[in-house]
């Protein structure tokens, strides 16, 4: 049975969040999208998502802090960071080995996320 993959998407850039969200939805994902880490946390559905796709550079708190707070509530959730930074963050490994670098085409994004979920 094909289960629908559910994605939590947090990016403070509205255009990016919207574009990724629509791209994922058109490929059969269910997406909850937030442009604020705090909002994302207060609306977090625990043990619901397969994967959280998080921007790193955000106001209020960065992606790493957000990842930690999500993991505190939902141990099983997979984390993928998505960033326009050039650096390969050592800290990424603390939460997941998954880092997606912007800019990325929608097709490549879908491929990466499917690989990560499986």
């Amino acid at each position: 049975m094909d289960e629908i993959n559910k994605i939590l998407l947090v990016d403070d850039e509205y255009d990016i969040a919207l574009a990724f969200s629509l791209g994922l939805q058109s490929n059969g994902f269910s997406v909850d999208m937030f442009t604020s880490p705090i909002e994302a946390l207060s609306n977090l559905k625990v043990n619901y998502y397969n994967l959280a796709l998080l921007d790193i550079k955000m106001p209020e708190m960065d992606g790493f802090e957000l990842a930690q707070k999500i993991k505190d509530k939902d141990e099983k959730i997979k984390i993928c960071f998505i960033t326009a930074f050039d650096l390969s963050y050592q800290r990424v490994k603390e939460y997941s080995g998954c880092i997606i670098k912007k800019p990325i085409s929608i097709d490549d994004l879908i491929k990466k996320i499917k690989m990560e979920i499986e």
Binding site: D12, E13, D15, I16, L18, A19, F20, L22, G23, S26, K57, M58, P59, T83, A84, F85, D86, L87, K102, P103, I104, S105, I106
Partner: protein
């Protein structure tokens, strides 16, 4: 140093003055003619050098004999860094003992009292009896044979070397002698040991003076020896002070050169620090710039792909593409501007225009933008009552105003922004236009306020922190000034930015009508 050398040679004969570095290597030296030079020689095996180093106090050496067979003593004074207490080196002199001690008594005339001087080991530094005894050790065979192993003299000398005064009467075959012990204490330690020897025959020859004379002789002996010793000590103290002055001079020079070194070290450290900061800023800039460029590129890339999937949302997506293209354009303009500023290629296309009118137009544009925007901001403009002619690059000045307005809007979100133009005069009676942009936002972080016009300084999560840097360069290229502050008066909040531009001197208002 040469001056000191001749100065001390007026006091007594000194054949060497030297300075040794902290590793006991002789670095500077002056020697009298015919005396062996020790320059670059390691003195560390000398006991008095070790003692000076270990105690950091001036030290008088035992006697030592050079290859020239001259017996000498040395006086060594440590050079110490007064602030750190660190040992830096030693200043010392070498004194031929025979000529030195002969100053304090007759050591040749056997018919009267004479001096014998020993060091701590019992070596004869000066002796009146026979020159062949000089530099020999009292306890050695040569001296003992000379004195016929006289037990009284032996005892007396042993006592003397332990610092005990006293006298003895003995005869070792050359007539009866009466000998007085006088140890010389330097810095509380017995350092040199003097015996004043008088043949009793000279006393007995005046036997008619009987007991009284005897007593007088003894008395004069003691007084004589005490005064000799006092003079000796005074000389040594004088020595010490001469050397101390040399040390002080040397220490002062060292301190000064240390200070210079320290200063130049600090300068180098500072320059290094600046370089590091600059390097870090460059790296950070590249990182942030890459982030800022890739973000709109990502949006453009995604929305152009989404257009094919959701053709019905064409209008929304093209607007998003447009929005991000403008952002990308602004970014590349900023980077190009900075490149122009840094290479000195910022050129101004000056024209004559009314500043009131240009600002008013920009405000108009922003007002219509704000209506569509999520920000809840009221924008107020108070122009100057007349037209204000300036000769400037209209586009560049507009860029500055837009920059300041963008910042005000970005950091205010909800509130009011007041823009005003005034005409003022400076101390030279030159007129200038003052543009003020005041907001009611969060204000500028006090930490970054002093460097707000530098490159890459931003607290925003969007942008490169180049706007104010570019604005400052534009205003200054026009001979103007730009500055900013936080509005903390009367419980207000927000930031105020000002810039002023010189006005045309003569024909203000001639061509332009009153501003409406």
């Amino acid at each position: 140093m040469r001056e000191k050398f001749s100065e001390v040679n007026n006091v007594t004969k000194v054949d060497t003055i030297f300075i040794a570095d902290k590793d006991d290597i002789v670095s500077n030296e002056i020697v009298s003619e015919g005396t062996r030079s020790f320059i670059n020689i390691d003195l560390s095996f000398r006991e008095y050098i070790q003692e000076t180093k270990n105690t950091l106090r001036s030290t008088f050496s035992d006697g030592f004999k050079g290859i020239d067979t001259i017996e000498r003593i040395a006086l060594a004074v440590p050079i110490v860094n007064s602030s750190s207490g660190e040992f830096i080196g030693i200043v010392g002199v070498k004194i031929p003992t025979e000529s030195f001690f002969s100053l304090y008594g007759n050591i040749r005339d056997i018919n009267s009292q004479f001096l014998v001087v020993y060091d701590k080991k019992g070596t004869l530094l000066a002796v009146g009896a026979d020159k062949s005894l000089l530099a020999k050790n009292f306890f050695g065979e040569f001296v003992q044979n000379f004195t016929n192993h006289n037990p009284i003299l032996m005892n007396l000398t042993k006592n003397l070397l332990q610092g005990i005064s006293g006298y003895g009467i003995y005869d070792y075959g050359k007539g009866e002698r009466i000998t007085t012990n006088v140890p010389v204490f330097i810095q509380g330690k017995p350092s040199y040991f003097i015996q004043i020897v008088t043949p009793t025959a000279t006393i007995y020859s005046e036997i008619s003076n009987v007991l009284f004379g005897e007593k007088l002789k003894m008395f004069s002996l003691i007084v004589g020896s005490i005064s000799a010793i006092t003079i000796l000590i005074m000389f040594l103290i004088k020595w010490n002070s001469i050397l101390n002055n040399e040390v002080k001079k040397r220490t002062k020079e060292l301190r000064e050169s240390n200070k210079k070194l320290l200063l130049s070290n600090q300068e180098i450290a500072l320059a290094n620090e600046e370089l590091k900061v600059h390097d870090k800023m460059q790296k950070e800039f590249i990182n942030i710039a890459s982030h800022e460029i890739k973000t709109p590129v990502q949006a453009i890339l995604s929305f152009s792909q989404l257009l094919q999937i959701y053709p019905e949302r064409q209008k929304e997506f093209t607007q998003a593409i447009n929005r991000n293209s403008i952002r990308l354009q602004r970014l590349s303009n900023d980077i190009l501007d900075v490149a122009k500023i840094e290479s000195g290629a910022l050129t101004l296309n000056k024209e004559l225009f009314d500043l009131n009118e240009v600002v008013s137009n920009i405000i108009g544009d922003y007002k219509s933008l704000i209506v569509n925007d999520k920000h809840k901001i009221k924008l107020h403009f108070k122009p100057f009552k007349q037209s204000l002619l300036i000769e400037a690059d209209k586009e560049r000045i507009s860029e500055v105003i837009s920059n300041l307005l963008n910042n005000a809007i970005k950091f205010t979100r909800e509130g009011e922004i007041f823009v005003s133009i005034e005409k003022k005069e400076d101390d030279n009676n030159d007129s200038y236009a003052l543009v003020t942009i005041r907001d009611t936002g969060e204000g500028v972080d006090p930490e970054i306020l002093p460097k707000i016009f530098s490159k890459f300084i931003t607290k925003s999560f969007e942008g490169l922190g180049l706007g104010l840097y570019i604005s400052k360069n534009i205003i200054e290229a026009h001979g103007g000034k730009i500055w900013g502050e936080n509005n903390s008066k009367d419980g207000n909040c927000g930031a105020i930015f000002y810039f002023k531009l010189p006005l045309r001197k003569s024909d203000i208002n001639n061509k332009f009508n009153r501003y409406k």
